[in-house]
């Protein structure tokens, strides 16, 4: 096929206006931290950024046990107990940062949250490039502060590093983003310097 199909990676299992949780189809195959994903909830496509990924037992009451005492390699555990791949699952927490309606990208919250069982796709480089033409999503990330176990500075830095890969003028993009952040965080100089340290030299 000539048209590249978007990579389907997960499915929404919990959603609200500001975020959704998706279960990955493959164990450990979650999109990277800070990357851009989208989910289709007609008539809009909702964009989100992966802010946390968890892997655990399907049954919350049953904790996995350590199995590798006798094995020399980690892979051997899964080879000997192939059912384990089905007993565990990987979930991603996704922060909603915008939506696409009839080809127009909006960098604010969509009118409705994602539906359960909506498919979650990893965005292509072109989509990431288009989405990051505006840096308004940075303020949505900042607003999520305190929600996730991950420090917001880390998320901001990771998302910018990720988006910057798709920009031919990578350094310029990061400088523009850095200036935008500087304005948003002008009163929190320590937080700002943490982020800047994490995005410089990319």
């Amino acid at each position: 096929m000539g048209i590249e199909m978007p990579l389907k990676v997960a499915e929404v299992i919990e959603a609200n206006t500001t975020e959704f949780t998706a279960q990955c189809y493959e164990l450990y195959q979650a999109p990277p931290f800070g990357s851009l994903v989208k989910t289709s909830t007609a008539p809009v496509e909702i964009y989100g950024i992966i802010y946390n990924t968890t892997t655990g037992s399907i049954d919350p009451g049953r904790r996995p046990l350590a199995r590798g005492k006798e094995e020399s390699k980690e892979e051997d555990i899964y080879r000997i107990h192939p059912q384990f791949s089905s007993l565990f699952r990987t979930e991603c927490n996704v922060l909603v940062v915008g939506y696409n309606e009839e080809g127009r990208i909006h960098h604010y919250l969509p009118p409705h949250p994602a539906h359960i069982h909506s498919f979650v796709y990893q965005c292509s480089d072109e989509e990431v490039y288009q989405f990051s033409q505006s840096l308004d999503f940075l303020s949505l990330i900042l607003a999520s502060q305190g929600k996730s176990p991950v420090p917001v500075e880390e998320l901001l830095a990771a998302s910018l590093r990720y988006a910057s890969r798709t920009h031919p003028e990578r350094g310029e993009f990061l400088i523009t983003a850095g200036r935008e952040l500087t304005l948003l965080l002008s009163k929190e100089v320590n937080c700002l310097s943490t982020i800047l340290k994490r995005i410089q030299g990319e």
């Binding site: 400088i175 100089v189 310097s193 800047l196």
Partner: protein, 546 residues
């Protein structure tokens, strides 16, 4: 900067945006990039693009700002190019303080009226850029018959011009510390005025600098008025020998008779001659008693004789008389004072001035002699002023033509215009009554702080080179909008060839790099502009020699 390049790069001259301020306090401008901060300097001009008007303003202060004081405790490493580019202009930024001066509107009507004094301010976040050559040219006009090109703004090639008609309307002042270029500025101004012929000049040339060739401080010889305009300038001298030694072709040797000296002439010299108040009273008594010949009589006869003759009228102490005699004897050292003058100097002077001949009065060996300078300048000016008042009154009665505007140049002006004598000297009167009688002053001084406040406030256009004495700066800037801002500008001038010009003849205060004078190129310019009444040349001179 190359001129053509300058026009092309105009859009790149953006400096920042207006973030606050007021008409009286001036505007605050946030610089886009802190890197620009070392490229801007106090005294340069910026244009602010408001919604409906363009504004022209002067940078009066530059400061460094940061959003969070925490940064000064833990400063970021700006040697890192990434951090430097991210932080510059965002949380650390440069701030300019700008004094808005003029409104340059875009409408057709205002194009005709020209720039207006600023009465409002631009809106929030209006864009600020360096003023272009055209902006300055629009404000100051082009050099022509009515505009004197005096110099260029800092970092620009545009010509800054003074409006001649406004310049001669009021008294003007040139100030500055010794060695900052007052004399050069004066030479340029005088040469331009002589060339245009809108007014006639009488220059009391204390240091023999304006009539004939003299040596500049850097050692080369500079031509003066008589050499540039031989047919329009006459050199009068008080000391023929000194003038001929210097190879000056003089037109008239001034002699003053003792009988021409009046008590008022002595009273302004009270301090110079060290005469007591009693002594001055006595001078008036002597004048009353002996009439015109009082001084000659008093100096030639003995003190006892005088005392006896005066005792018929009043009681006088011999001591007072002796002291007065001692003081007045100093006048004997002035060799241009004679018992009776062969020719009437005032009449000759007026004859020249009436023919629109500019007159430079050289003091020869009496250079730096305050006594001679004050005495002669005051005496001659009083008589010339009397004549002007008479003629102006006749003109008002429509029985005669108005006299040609006269500009009298005096140096060491504080000797004539300090608070204690300004009310008595004719110069005080001229400065105060302004152009009513077509006589104005060009005051040159290095201690403007000593000049009477009332006189200073009447000076129309002030041109000030560097001043650093607080009192002098205050006095020069009296009554101007944005005084404290301009104070910074004035005290930051270069020591040479820079002047802050403000007042009646310019639309707004401006710092200029005074144009060069004294090089062969600079002389070529003179002669390129014809005076308004060009026919004074030969015909009038023949007349004069009758």
């Amino acid at each position: 900067m190359n001129k053509n390049m300058h026009y092309e790069e105009q859009e790149d001259l953006r400096l920042g945006i207006v973030t606050g301020g007021s008409l009286t306090r001036g505007l605050d401008v946030k610089l886009d990039n802190t890197d620009l901060i070392e490229d801007v300097s106090v005294g340069t001009y910026v244009t602010i693009a408001g919604e409906r008007h363009h504004f022209l303003g002067m940078i009066t202060d530059i400061s460094l700002e940061m959003v969070d004081p925490m940064l000064s405790i833990n400063p970021p490493d700006l040697s890192n190019p990434f951090l430097s580019r991210v932080l510059n202009g965002t949380i650390i930024y440069g701030k300019l303080h700008i004094l808005p001066q003029l409104t340059l509107s875009g409408s057709a009507a205002s194009l005709l009226e020209g720039p207006q004094q600023v009465k409002t301010i631009p809106s929030h976040f209006a864009m600020v850029r360096q003023a272009s050559e055209q902006d300055i040219a629009r404000a100051f006009g082009e050099e022509d018959e009515k505009h004197i090109y005096i110099g260029n703004p800092l970092d620009m090639e545009t010509k800054v011009c003074l409006d001649v008609s406004r310049l001669i309307e009021r008294s003007n002042g040139i100030f500055g510390k010794s060695g900052t270029g007052k004399t050069f500025l004066t030479r340029i101004l005088l040469a331009e005025m002589v060339q245009r012929g809108n007014a006639v000049n009488l220059i009391f040339d204390m240091h023999n600098e304006y009539g004939w060739m003299s040596t500049s401080e850097s050692g080369y010889e500079v031509k003066a008025l008589k050499q540039l305009f031989p047919s329009r300038v006459a050199v009068f001298t008080l000391d023929e020998q000194s003038s001929s030694r210097r190879g000056v072709s003089t037109d008239f040797v001034v002699e003053i008779g003792y009988d021409e000296i009046e008590p008022e002439d002595i009273s302004i010299l009270q301090e110079t001659l060290n005469i007591t108040d009693k002594g001055i009273e006595l001078v008036y008594e002597l004048h009353e008693h002996y009439g015109k010949k009082w001084l000659d009589r008093f100096l030639s006869q003995s003190v006892q004789e005088t005392q006896e003759e005066l005792e018929q009228r009043i009681e006088v102490h011999r001591g007072t008389l002796q002291a007065l005699r001692r003081s007045l004897s100093q006048l004997k050292r002035l060799h241009f004072l004679v018992s009776e003058a062969r020719q009437n100097s005032v009449a000759s002077l007026l004859a020249y001035l009436n023919r629109k001949m500019n007159v430079v009065l050289e003091f020869g060996r009496y250079r730096d002699n305050i006594l001679a300078y004050v005495l002669v300048a005051n005496m001659l000016t009083r008589r010339i002023h009397d004549s002007y008042v008479r003629r102006k009154e006749q003109a008002m009665g429509e029985s005669a033509d108005e006299p040609v505007p006269l500009i009298i140049t005096i140096e060491e002006a504080h000797k004539f215009l300090n608070s204690s004598v300004a009310s008595q000297t004719i110069f005080g009167t001229i400065a105060r009554e302004m152009r009513k009688y077509n006589v104005t002053l060009l005051v040159i001084d290095q201690r403007p702080g000593s000049i009477d406040e009332e006189v200073m406030s009447q000076i129309g256009t002030k041109m000030s080179c560097l001043l650093d004495n607080e009192k002098d700066i205050d006095s020069v800037l009296t009554g101007i909008h944005g005084k404290s801002d301009l104070k910074v500008v004035l005290s930051r001038l270069e020591t040479k060839q820079q002047a802050l010009i403000f007042g009646h003849a310019v639309p707004m205060p401006i710092v200029v790099r005074v144009k060069t004078y004294g090089t062969p190129d600079s002389y070529e310019h003179y002669g390129s502009i014809t005076p308004t009444r060009a026919k004074l040349e030969t015909e009038d001179i023949d007349d004069l020699w009758g």
